[in-house]
Structure formats: C-alpha cells, structure tokens
C-alpha cells in the first residue's frame, strides 16, 4: 500500500468539486441561518461557483497535456478534459439559473448545490472511467443526485411525479446496464477497458453486453424508444435542473458511451453503427414531431432535447475523430443555446405555480413588447436550436452532418437536415408568440422575472450562441488518440 504513488492529479478536478460539496454542507451546518422562502442565500452559491470554476480552471490547464490514468480506472485525456469543461460550464450556468430561481420554492439551497456538485462529480467520473465498476458508480452518483434534484421542489406534485418516474425507470435501466456489464465481464473476466480490448472476442457476451449498455446509456440520453421518461421529468423538474440535465447528462453519457464503443475493438463498428443510426433517426424524428403540438414551453424544449440527442448520436455513428469532435462541439453549442433557452423559461415561469410548474408558450405572447431584449435573446436561442446560421447551432449541425457524410452516412445527414426543417416549426412558434402576438390585455401574464444572475447567464449563453460558431471550430483538440481508444 503506497498511497503517494496514486496519481491523484488525474482526478484532481473531481476532488475539488467533491471538496466543495463537503465544504458547502459543513458551512451550512455550522452557520445555518433561519431563512424564509424567497430569501436568497448567497454564500452557498458563491462557494459552489468558486469550486466549479476552480475545477474548470484545472481542467483547462490540463488540456492538451499528456494522458494519465488513475489505476487503469480513470483516464485523464483531452476528451475527459473537454467533457469536464462542458459539464462544469453547464453547472455554472445552472447555478446562475438557480440563484434567484431556487428561493422561489425551496430554502435548502446548500443541499441543492451540494447535490448538483455531486452530480457533476458523477458526470466527470463518467467521462474519465475506463473501467466498468467505476463507470457504474459514476453513473449511479449522477443518476441518484438527479433523481433527488428533480424532486427537489417537494411542495409541488409534478416535481414529485417527475422524480418518481425518473427514478423508477432509471433504476429499471440501471438493471440493464448492470446486466450488460456483467456480460462483458463474462466475456473477458475483467472490467478494465484495457482488458476488454485485448480479450474481447465479439461473441454473444460481448455483443449482448454492449447492446444492454447501449440501452442503459440510451436511457440517459433519452434515445427513442428509451426516452419516455424525459419529457415528464424535464417538465416536472425545477427549470435549473432540467437545463442542467438536458445538457450535462447528455454530454457525460455520450463520452462514456463513446469510450465503451471504442473499448471493444472486437465488436466492429459495422455491427453497432447501423443500430445507432436507426436510433438516431428515430430519436430526432420522434422528438421533433412530438414537439410540434406542445403547449408548454418547457415540455416542448424537452422534446427538442430528445431530438437533439438524435442529432448528436450521428457523431457517434460515424465512429471517426471528426464525428467525435463534431459531437463535442455540438455539446458545447447545445450547452449555450439550451441553457439559455431554459433560462428564459425560468424567467417566464409563473411565480405562483399551478398544478404544473410550467411556462406555456402563451406566456411568451407579446414578450417583445414587454421585454424586448429577453424576446430577442430567446429568438436567438430558438433560431440557433433550429440550426439557422450564423448562430452556433448551425455550425454544430454543419460539423455533425459533415462528419456523417465524410463517413458515408449521407442518408443520416439528409434525415438530420429534414428534421431541422420540421423543428423549425415549433421553434418558430415561440418567436411567433413573442414577436407577432400582443399580450392579452387583462389579466396579462406576469412580468418576467429577470434577476441579475439570470441576466448574466443569458448574456453568456447568448454571446456564446452568437459568436461561438463564427469564431471557433471543432479543431479545439486533436482527439484522434481518444478515438483510437488508447
């Protein structure tokens, strides 16, 4: 036992975030002030933000550095660093969203942020894991933290319902993930990817195991037909959580799935790529079609997020470095535009929640007349989600579809662009409501709540949506090493 020999540097950002969570709990425990609902607690938020930013800083400095491993279980490579940055960034934005939003319904802010931080850790682990048990634990950490966060607004029945659905189905899915892992173990007698790569034969165990793992991650990614929980959970959860889930969980799950797919060279891409392609097609098509008829803004965005998972799957289908880069690029872009869109939803939510904590699309009517800037910002997000240049969403799709076509998946790219057209309709409906309708005279929808922190988050995201595509490309990193699985 020689502890100093352990490469803690590999998991330093995770340690920082964990420590922040613990610190948060301790501080809260020591100095628990009596707070009324509606009062904002600044200390936990600031601590959280500092922790997240510190971890992000660590990941950023590590970027481009040599690959390192922690006992063959966690691998710190550029893929992991990029994922960390995405997850941490999403978390920061989510915290900004929650800052003034959370006190509307909950006083337990320290717990909230602690759970958020721990979910972040889970996701970061997911991104680094190169061993099945680690992967499983990471997955469970993030899942369970998110179950709780989904139901965090205990006074609200839809939150509880969302949490229950998410939880029951999540646990159900965990069973399949676990079974899949067991079968991989059956194939190779090991849980280390390194061993899987060497010993995997591509027989029944390997293929079925991979299939079951696909199912499990498909669940996390809300891939059709494993998506059904998503609209409900997204709608019921506090908006700050929804936004975080939609972005960060996806990112982590994608990276984990990517690593898994690369871990079994014996199972050729020819066997799983068509499956993923079909799933991608189903996912984007169903997501977009179902979004067409939604009246709730949040639920519409939930379906939209399903559809976007479909687009992103294309990046995995290709199995190329270009595909992965496009996928990561898209995740960044998606983080900007989706977090932003949910930020506006948070602003539009009624302060006295009805049965469903929800912003109807109708709530946005005449927004341009009431809050022009907010409407413009939302329009930017909507158009970016549609994939209209020069917004970042377009470039995300450009790289994704480009990678698909370069890898020979032209039909998938065609499906993708056609889906974008379908999606235009429901995104535009929001702009129609905001710009082309006038608010009902009486009783008009409440004035949107636009706190400073939310404004900051929206500024960041809208700038990102506007400029990211124009001034950056997916050449951020050479990820071919990650693609090779080494």
């Amino acid at each position: 036992m020689n502890l100093p020999s352990l490469a803690f540097g590999v998991i330093l950002p995770e340690i920082v975030v964990t420590a922040t969570a613990l610190l948060l709990l301790v501080v809260e425990m020591v100095s628990r002030p009596r707070r009324r609902l509606g009062q904002t607690a600044h200390a936990p938020v600031l601590i959280t933000l500092i922790g997240l930013l510190a971890a992000a800083g660590l990941s950023l400095t590590a970027l481009g550095g040599p690959m390192a491993e922690f006992q063959g279980m966690a691998r710190a490579d550029d893929l992991a660093h990029v994922l960390n940055l995405i997850v941490l960034g999403a978390a920061v934005l989510s915290v900004l969203l929650a800052w003034e939003y959370l006190p509307r319904f909950a006083g337990l802010s320290a717990e909230y942020y602690a759970l958020l931080l721990l979910a972040v850790v889970g996701m970061m682990v997911l991104g680094k894991a190169v061993e099945l048990i680690t992967l499983f634990v990471g997955l469970e950490i993030l899942s369970i933290a998110l179950y709780v966060l989904t139901g965090f607004d205990r006074h609200h029945v839809s939150a509880a319902e969302a949490a229950l659905k998410y939880f029951l189905l999540g646990a159900f899915a965990s069973g399949f993930v676990l079974y899949g892992m067991a079968l991989l173990y059956a194939e190779t007698g090991s849980t280390f990817y390194a061993d899987l790569a060497v010993r995997g034969q591509g027989g029944f165990f390997a293929l079925t195991g991979l299939g079951l793992l696909l199912v499990g991650f498909g669940f996390k990614l809300a891939v059709v037909p494993f998506h059904m929980w998503a609209p409900d959970a997204y709608q019921g959860a506090p908006t700050s959580v929804t936004a975080f889930m939609a972005v960060a969980t996806k990112a982590a799950a994608f990276v984990a799935l990517f690593r898994l797919l690369q871990a079994l060279p014996a199972v050729s891409a020819a066997s799983w790529a068509p499956v993923l392609a079909v799933l991608a097609l189903l996912t984007m098509t169903l997501g977009n079609l179902a979004a067409l008829r939604q009246r709730s803004l949040k639920r519409m965005l939930a379906y939209s997020s399903i559809a976007h998972a479909g687009y992103m799957l294309i990046g995995l289908v290709t199995g190329t470095a270009a595909g992965l880069q496009a996928l990561l690029y898209y995740l960044v872009v998606y983080a900007f535009m989706n977090m932003g869109a949910f930020g506006v939803v948070a602003a539009l939510e009624p302060r006295e929640p009805a049965a469903l904590r929800d912003a109807e699309i109708a709530a946005a009517e005449g927004l341009f007349s009431r809050k022009p800037l907010l409407a413009v910002v939302m329009a930017v997000f909507m158009l970016s989600l549609t994939g209209i240049p020069p917004l970042a969403g377009f470039f995300g799709k450009l790289y994704l579809f480009g990678a698909a076509i370069a890898a020979g998946w032209t039909w998938l790219a065609v499906a993708g662009v056609l889906n974008s057209v379908v999606s235009a309709y429901y995104y535009l409906r929001v702009t129609v409501a905001m710009f082309m309708k006038e608010p009902a005279p009486t009783p008009g929808p409440a004035q949107p709540l636009l706190a400073d922190s939310l404004a900051l988050a929206l500024t960041v995201t809208v700038l990102g949506t506007l400029l990211w595509g124009l001034f950056t490309g997916p050449w951020l990193l050479d990820l071919s090493a990650a693609v090779a699985g080494r």
Partner: protein, 100 residues
C-alpha cells in the same frame, strides 16, 4: 459442482421475472421491489462469473452494487413517500399528471 451456466440461466430467468413485474404491476413499491430483484439477479450472475473466471472482480462488483442498491432504496422510498404525501397513493396509474 454446479455449472456456471445454470446460475446464469437462473439469474436471467429471475431478471426477466423482475422486469415483467415492473411492466405489469401498478404499485410503485412492488415495481421498485422488482427492480431490486433484477439487480440481485445480476449480482448472482456476477458472483457466478467470478467463480468461473477465478478472480474477485465479480465479487467486488457485487459488493459495490449492494451499496448502490441500498442508496437507491433509501432515495427511492423517500421519493415514493413524497408522492404519497401529495397523492395518497402508490398506484402509478394515478400518477399521470405529466403526459402528452
């Protein structure tokens, strides 16, 4: 010596029974029990495989799964309690406010 395959098949059957339970029962608690049963059957698979491969990885895995299951139960039951507070039921058919 019982062949490992027997254990695997038994585990698969119990896994399937658990899954079926999830599909056809309407009591959230029982659904949850079925999920636990599924996890358990995988545990059995892992332990059997550990013996098959002659290493401890499977056992370690199960150890950790047990811990995970415990946490899941704690959180899950809390969530079910939360629902019961609002709706006074564990019948999942009545929990469909969110749909469409």
């Amino acid at each position: 010596m019982v062949p490992t395959t027997y254990y695997l098949v038994l585990a698969a059957v119990i896994f399937a029974i658990g899954a079926l339970g999830v599909l056809i029962r309407r009591n959230a608690l029982i659904i949850f029990m079925c999920v636990e049963m599924m996890l358990n059957s995988v545990n059995l698979t892992l332990v059997a495989l550990a013996q098959q491969w002659g290493n401890l990885i499977g056992q370690v895995f199960v150890f950790i799964v047990v811990a995970v299951a415990a946490v899941e139960v704690a959180v899950g039951l809390a969530i079910i309690m939360a629902i019961v507070r609002h709706k006074d039921t564990t019948n999942v058919d009545e929990i469909n406010l969110l749909r469409g």
